[in-house]
């Protein structure tokens, strides 16, 4: 089975997607920020423009008031004149009423006009108007005085001088002068107010559009973020479920491959054993025969008529025993190696019995079995709290036993040895670390230490080079992994990941 096909032609990973959507998110965030800044600027502009507009209208209203005040003053003067003339014509007191009303108001009205226009170019005209108005009032009053003192004829006489008419005309002219200016002023101010009003309306429309735009943008951004989030979640969920499938299928492939290797190893080691029995058997037979010959040669040498050639003596006395020694050492070694393979393959075929393991207690038991060695080396094994797992007890004991045994075996004589075992639970995995301050492994030997019959570093300790190969095989069988970090001369750390629930993963694979 080609496991690599599972990795081919994949869609972008959820992580890549999330990175991409985060970039998009950043862009829309920038847009949003710009939108909000524009909104703030718009709000300030609208406020300022509203104020300007109000001021413009206030100014226009002032001018209007001045105009109406002047009109009112003229009206009052006319009322006063009408009342006075009516009285003189009819001699009825009731006709004096408008006169009396008007005369009471006119001085105040004229003063108000002067005050209102004091800063304007028509201040002079206003003063003239007041003077004319005051003179008019005096004229009307003097005619009435004449009526009272000299009778109607004298008063009529006074009116007929046209002095009063002249004053009234003068007042009207003064008013007209002021009105002409104020009308122009009003037109200018109204125009200004209209213009600021237009700008304000435009600004309000603009900010409304902007509010809408920002709202839509925010909505879109939110929608996109939520959508992206949902997609990412879906992708993650899918990846997770795919991952489980991939893990399951790869585990199955691995265990199949492993089974085949086990079978192969078993058959090969058996078939190798059979000839080895012959080699060892007949070597021993041959050795016995050679000894018989040797004894005969010895006997011949001792005889008086000894004619045994020196080569025969050497061959039978030195070469042959030496050859036997090498043959026997090599065949013994071969037997040990074959036995080791057999042991490995037998362990690989053993049915695992998962049970809950109290890992700290288990490790402490292993540490105790090594205590006589660690004590002798002034070393110690520190077992920290460890997560418990469900797994085959014998396998786990052999895994940790081999690693700890190795750690003790390869401690550095230069410093007191410290071997620390610690662990954490990471999701469905229990991760254990076995760290030592031993002699370490050179970088190019890191993978080699897991190979069968291979050993790394100085070969000053006993061993066939099986331990770690065996450990790795056991870990694979339990559905775990093993990795190692090491610095030559400083120490080694083995990291083991084992499924928390070995019973579950096993049944899933099967």
């Amino acid at each position: 089975m080609n496991v690599s096909t599972l990795a081919d032609g994949e869609e972008p990973s959820p992580i890549e997607q999330s990175v991409r959507s985060r970039v998009l998110g950043n862009a829309s965030l920038v847009l949003l920020a710009i939108g909000f800044a524009a909104l703030i600027v718009m709000a300030i502009a609208v406020t300022v423009l509203t104020e300007r507009n109000r001021e413009a209208f206030d100014l226009a209203a002032t001018t209007r008031k001045q105009l109406s005040d002047i009109a009112r003053a003229v009206e009052l003067l006319e009322n006063a004149e009408t009342g006075q003339r009516g009285f003189l014509l009819t001699e009825r007191e009731s006709y004096l009423e408008p006169y009396n009303d008007a005369t009471a108001q006119i001085p105040g009205q004229l003063d108000a006009i002067v005050a209102e226009t004091s800063t304007l170019p028509i201040a002079g005209a206003a003063a003239d108007f007041r003077a004319t108005g005051t003179a008019k009032l005096a004229e009307l009053s003097s005619a009435l005085d004449l009526y009272k003192s000299d009778g109607r004829g004298a008063a009529t006489e006074e009116v007929l001088t046209d002095r009063g008419k002249g004053l009234m005309d003068q007042a009207r002219r003064d008013a007209k002068t002021m009105n002409a200016f104020l009308d122009k002023e009003l037109a200018v101010r109204l125009d200004h107010a209209r213009k600021t009003g237009e700008i304000l309306a435009a600004a309000q429309l603009g900010s409304t559009v902007l509010v809408l735009a920002v709202s839509i943008l925010t909505g879109l951004g939110l929608y996109r973020n939520v959508t992206a989030l949902r997609q990412a979640q879906a992708a993650l969920a899918e990846t997770n479920s795919n991952l489980e499938d991939i893990v399951a299928s790869r585990t199955q492939a691995l265990s199949q491959a492993n089974d085949e290797i086990q079978k192969f190893a078993y058959i090969v080691s058996h078939d190798l054993r059979a000839p080895l029995v012959n080699i060892m058997g007949f070597t021993t037979e041959l050795e016995a025969a050679a000894k018989t010959v040797g004894r005969y040669v010895d006997h011949r040498i001792k005889a008086s008529d000894s004619d045994v050639p020196r080569e025969v003596v050497e061959a039978i006395g030195e070469d042959v025993p030496e050859a036997f020694e090498f043959i026997k050492t090599s065949t013994s070694k071969m037997d040990r190696l074959i036995s080791a393979i057999l042991r490995l393959s037998r362990e690989g075929r053993r049915v695992l019995a998962p049970e809950t393991l109290q890992m700290r207690a288990l490790l402490e038991t292993i540490a105790d079995t090594l205590k006589h060695r660690t004590d002798a080396m002034d070393a110690q094994i520190v077992v920290q709290p460890l997560p418990n797992i469900v797994a085959d007890r014998l396998a786990v004991e052999q895994i940790f036993g081999n690693i700890l045994d190795n750690a003790v075996k390869y401690l550095s004589p230069e410093r007191p040895g410290v071997i620390t075992v610690r662990g954490t639970a990471r999701g469905a995995l229990a991760v254990y670390e076995i760290e030592d301050n031993g002699r370490g492994i050179a970088e190019n030997d890191l993978e080699r230490v897991f190979e069968l019959f291979r050993r790394a570093g100085r070969q000053n300790t006993q061993g066939e080079g099986i331990g770690l190969a065996y450990v790795r095989q056991l870990i694979y069988r339990l559905g775990g992994t093993i990795a190692l970090k090491s610095t030559l001369g400083q120490g080694t750390t083995f990291t083991l990941s084992l499924p928390m629930n070995g019973a579950k993963s096993k049944s899933e694979v099967a």
Partner: protein, 137 residues
């Protein structure tokens, strides 16, 4: 009383020779019939009727498994009392159990170490010299 013959079923001539040598060294002088494959051995065994014999059986044969021979011997009323000694390289517990379940009398793993091998065969020889083969009648 007919002399007990020893039927040696062993495909490896070297092993057969070593076994024979060591049996003889133990002082056993019975006739040893050597067969190098299962077919020939079975053919001989089934024609022997109730002749007293003892079978030394290797499990890894070129044409069949030794357990098949064992099974056949133990299922035939004529031969089921024939003592069968399995002498093989396999030391697999399951295989050993299977042989005993099928009715093998002794199971010996061939040790690679020759001293151990010779000792095992010689002890087997002693065992053969004192064992009583069932009366064929």
């Amino acid at each position: 009383m007919l002399p007990v013959s020893i039927v040696l079923v062993e495909d490896d001539p070297g092993h057969a020779r070593l076994i024979e040598k060591n049996i003889r060294r133990a002082g056993v002088n019975n006739e040893i019939l050597h067969f190098e494959n299962g077919t020939a051995a079975l053919a001989h065994l089934t024609t022997m009727g109730k002749a007293p014999m003892l079978v030394l059986l290797d499990l890894n044969l070129p044409d069949m498994s030794g357990t098949q021979i064992l099974e056949q011997l133990k299922s035939d009323s004529d031969t089921k009392h024939v003592p069968v000694i399995v002498l093989t390289t396999t030391d697999d517990k399951a295989e050993i159990q299977k042989c005993y379940d099928l009715g093998c009398n002794v199971y010996i793993t061939k040790p690679v170490d020759y001293e151990a091998f010779a000792t095992a065969i010689r002890q087997l020889g002693l065992f053969l010299s004192v064992m009583k083969v069932p009366d064929p009648t």
